[in-house]
């Protein structure tokens, strides 16, 4: 099983869009995919038309039950995405209370990792979507992954957010004695704007090896797809944006093979 986490402490950079689009494309390529929503705002969950406040089970119960949760219970918490081979582990607002509950308990950052281990035979790919907040949820999601995907909006000030994100990752590596692979994904790239061009150039200069050399273009189809509650790969398979994510996926997967 491959586990990817999409994270950036900065909000609105395309984390959820990246999760949904890559998930849709992987399922289309024939893999069994699970998307996990760890954001109390549950935008990934809503993306698939799931009203998480109506659910009996969500990723929240998984945190509450902790280590005792069984494979069957985890599988029971899943929701169908409407797309074949693509399932969702939904989030609820209650997740927002976890930071306080977990703040002083040791090892609470590893709950998600342990839960995912229990379903390691059930999926080929697990992609986790994070809230844009440094807290126990993001720490859990990052701790669980083998590879971190960091969407960075190509605009001014984006680098500052990225710097913070990498700092957090660095500190986590020390705590966990683990080395993360990470890939920076330039998003919402608009070649007509100076901000996009300059930020992309700076990203390349500062983090060259870690930056995917392509870009995800600014594409209104993403917003339309989310309004239609369909993965972009279904809603507009031939759009520029989906094409770019497909290229990214091929890159990420070729790296999986060579690992």
């Amino acid at each position: 099983m491959n586990i990817w986490t999409v994270a950036n402490q900065k909000g609105g950079v395309g984390k959820t869009t990246t999760t949904v689009t890559l998930g849709g494309l992987l399922a289309e390529r024939g893999y069994n995919v699970l998307l996990i929503d760890t954001d109390p705002h549950a935008s990934l969950t809503y993306y698939f038309g799931i009203d998480s406040e109506e659910l009996e089970l969500s990723v929240y119960e998984l945190f509450v039950r902790g280590k005792q949760i069984s494979r069957e219970e985890i599988l029971q918490s899943l929701c169908p995405s409407g797309l074949e081979r693509l399932d969702i582990l939904p989030a609820t607002m209650a997740l927002a209370t976890l930071d306080r509950a977990m703040g002083n308990k040791s090892g609470m950052g590893l709950i998600l990792q342990k839960a995912i281990e229990k379903i390691s035979k059930d999926y080929d790919y697990v992609i986790l979507d994070c809230p844009p907040v440094l807290g126990a949820l993001m720490v859990n999601a990052i701790a669980a992954c083998q590879r971190l995907l960091i969407p960075v909006q190509t605009e001014f000030l984006a680098l500052k957010g990225l710097d913070r994100m990498l700092k957090t990752m660095d500190l986590m590596q020390t705590s966990q004695v683990k080395h993360y692979r990470y890939t920076i994904i330039p998003t919402m790239y608009d070649k007509r704007t100076k901000a996009s061009l300059q930020t992309y150039k700076q990203l390349m200069e500062l983090y060259s090896d870690q930056v995917w050399a392509g870009v995800i273009p600014e594409d209104t189809k993403f917003r339309d797809a989310s309004l239609a509650q369909q993965p972009p790969s279904v809603f507009s398979p031939r759009s520029r944006g989906v094409f770019a994510y497909n290229t990214l996926l091929t890159y990420l997967m070729s790296e999986v093979v060579s690992e």
Binding site: N104, S106, T168
Partner: protein, 262 residues
């Protein structure tokens, strides 16, 4: 790479270590030679790690107050019961019953607890981690008219509006003058519990594990109900977050008595 201060890095380290290192592992790390390799894990156990003493301790008269037990008052949402039947193999999601509310003693009165120390105009203040709603970087504030002078403004985080309190002005209005104001450099916002209230702070100092005995606990009925107690070692205020939220919501200053915190 980052210019973030050493102190705040330490806070982050102990926070992450607490989350990512399991209890047994942490104990193992406390062995002398192991600890050499992982000095960070030890930070959690030490109470005396703060190198920078508070310049102004909160009012002395508080020390004289008797220590009494806090009453049970925190209402915490509890998870809806989880069905344990494994009849349906997958996706058994149904409509959930509404969560039950249970009256509980404050989490940090039950034993050892962690507190985050932060610094405002030389005053060190601590907040129990269980009552910490999060830490944000200070961003753009929109000021509102008709608000108390200690209300700095509203910061929008995603679609939420956070109400930011000028902590120095609220806690020590008597000392708040132009010189103090000009020297203030608010960098972070300490969010209170699940509320939309946040305290502006200058520096994050550290996260420390405290025992019940490390704190001189306060009875709430008197003045300054927002003080849960004093941390003896460094005479630093431990905030009573729920009382603080209530005061803010009532638009009260720190000096006014509050009729009822309940």
């Amino acid at each position: 790479m980052s210019k973030s201060g050493f102190a705040s890095e330490k806070v982050m380290r102990s926070y992450l270590d607490a989350l990512l290192i399991e209890e047994d592992e942490q104990q193992a790390l406390a062995q002398p030679d192991e600890a050499e390799l992982r000095p960070v894990a030890r930070l959690l156990e030490k109470v005396n790690v703060i190198e920078q003493p508070a310049r102004a301790a909160p009012s002395k008269e508080l020390q004289a107050k008797a220590v009494e037990k806090t009453k049970a008052r925190v209402v915490t949402p509890v998870a809806a019961p989880i069905s344990t039947s494994v009849v349906a193999p997958r996706m058994a999601n149904k409509i959930a019953p509404p969560p039950k509310a249970v009256v509980e003693e404050k989490e940090y009165r039950k034993g050892d607890f962690q507190a985050l120390f932060f610094d405002v105009a030389g005053l060190m203040v601590a907040v129990p981690l269980t009552e910490l709603g999060g830490i944000h970087n200070m961003g753009k504030l929109n000021t509102l008219i008709g608000k108390p002078d200690w209300f700095m403004g509203v910061m929008v985080h995603r679609e939420n509006k956070l109400s930011i309190v000028n902590t120095a002005k609220w806690v020590m209005p008597e000392k708040y003058d132009d010189t103090l104001e000009n020297n203030l450099e608010y960098q972070y916002i300490i969010m209170l519990d699940n509320s939309s209230w946040g305290l502006a702070c200058e520096k994050l100092v550290n996260t420390v594990t405290l025992s019940q005995d490390d704190v001189k606990w306060r009875e709430h009925s008197g003045r300054r109900p927002w003080l849960a107690g004093l941390i003896k070692e460094r005479m630093c205020a431990l905030l009573d977050v729920s009382a603080l939220i209530k005061l803010f919501e009532q638009g009260q200053s720190s000096l006014e008595d509050m009729l009822s915190v309940e």
